[in-house]
């Protein structure tokens, strides 16, 4: 609801104009304040989505098997033997 709105009349053009004014106020209120911090957050979201896409592509290309086979065998380099 828009505070302070007034009825200017009841003709169709006036109603349309009021609707237009109300829409402008709503759009302004909902507009994301594109501060630097917000842009950074959006970049973070984009990178996270890219990461998910990479993971899904990696699954499709069966790259997870390389991770799995390394992780289930004793890594002799890791424990200082190999």
């Amino acid at each position: 609801m828009i505070r302070g709105s007034t009825q200017l009349g009841s003709g169709p053009s006036v109603i349309l104009f009021q609707t237009y004014l109300q829409a402008c106020v709503i759009m302004h209120a909902a507009t994301i304040d594109e501060t630097e911090a917000q842009m950074r957050r959006l970049t973070g979201v984009g990178i996270a989505l890219l990461g998910i896409a990479f993971i899904l592509l990696g699954v499709a290309l069966v790259q997870y098997r390389g991770v799995f086979f390394k992780a289930i065998m004793i890594c002799f380099e890791c424990i200082g033997i190999g």
């Binding site: 890219l50 992780a71 289930i72 004793i74 890594c75 890791c78």
Partner: protein, 283 residues
């Protein structure tokens, strides 16, 4: 204080979850379940008998074995996702080795406070990332035809503590196979343990390549510390109170532990997500 306790609880839960295969410590065998296809966010050696998932750093080095024929999308995807969501918050909340260092730091001794030298030394982890995690594995691949995880092999103290010791306790024949490399790794572990008593998170600040990777995402990570510029008076109490080598909150050395929040006199620091209010974003 309640938030500090919460962080400690989350750290302990993470450490327990990463190493939930308790039976492995007794039997000296590694977990082979499906979760080993997945990387955990923090540093946790996958040769730990308790480990239920893969180490992202070890997996990255191994995945470089497919480079340049195939880009290691799967592992890089995990790092991008964790980094973009949390940045170095993972270091303070979800890394077992970070927890170990913090517990060691609690030992009552004189402490070495941060200074220009420690700030300069914090760049060392990027060198270790470039040399031991990326360059050397690729070099081994070119020379030997097989990739070798150089960071795990020559540096990582988590592998010695979480992998070598439990496995050797369970299977003494592994100890018989140990040589100079094992002695070197024990030396590195002892150095990290001793330095952690006097220097806050010495491994995280100066050596850890995983922290170096996540630091690139600190400025864009979705979860982190928020600074309300309207309330901030730039008194720098947050920077002085921080035990990491930060120049300001949320820079690449910030691990989002939240201790700066406790000292801010105007309440300008918050760790919540930004909210979309009626007019613009509340920072």
């Amino acid at each position: 204080m309640a938030k500090r306790r919460t962080r400690k609880i989350v750290q302990v839960i993470s450490a327990v979850l990463y190493n939930a295969n308790v039976g492995g410590f007794a039997s000296g065998t590694l977990y082979r379940g499906a979760t080993k296809n997945v990387c955990v966010p923090g540093l946790n050696c996958y040769s730990c008998p308790g480990a239920v998932a893969a180490c992202p750093l070890g997996s990255l080095q191994v995945a470089l074995g497919t480079f340049p024929k195939a880009f290691p999308l799967y592992v890089v995807g995990f790092l991008l996702l964790f980094g973009a969501l949390f940045g170095r918050l993972i270091c303070s909340f979800a890394c077992p080795f970070g927890l170990i260092q913090e517990l060691l730091y609690r030992i009552p001794t004189r402490k070495l406070r941060k200074n220009k030298l420690t700030r300069a030394l914090s760049a060392l982890k990027y060198v270790i990332l470039g040399v031991f995690v990326i360059a050397l594995p690729i070099y081994y691949l070119i020379v030997n035809g097989v990739v070798s995880p150089a960071f795990c092999k020559f540096v990582c103290p988590a592998g010695t503590l979480e992998g070598a010791f439990p496995l050797m306790i369970a299977d003494h024949s592994l100890f018989d196979m140990a040589g100079l490399l094992f002695i070197w790794k024990v030396f590195v572990l002892v150095a990290v343990v001793v330095s952690s008593v006097f220097v806050y998170r010495s491994f995280c600040r100066f050596i850890c390549p995983l922290g170096a990777i996540y630091s690139f995402f600190n400025r864009v990570a979705i979860f982190g510390i928020r600074v309300d510029e309207k309330k901030c008076t730039h008194c720098n109490r947050c920077v002085r109170a921080c035990k990491m080598d930060v120049k300001k909150v949320n820079d690449r050395e910030c691990i989002r532990c939240g201790e700066c929040r406790d000292v801010c006199p105007t309440g300008a620091l918050d760790s919540r997500l930004p909210k979309l209010k009626g007019k613009g974003i509340e920072k």
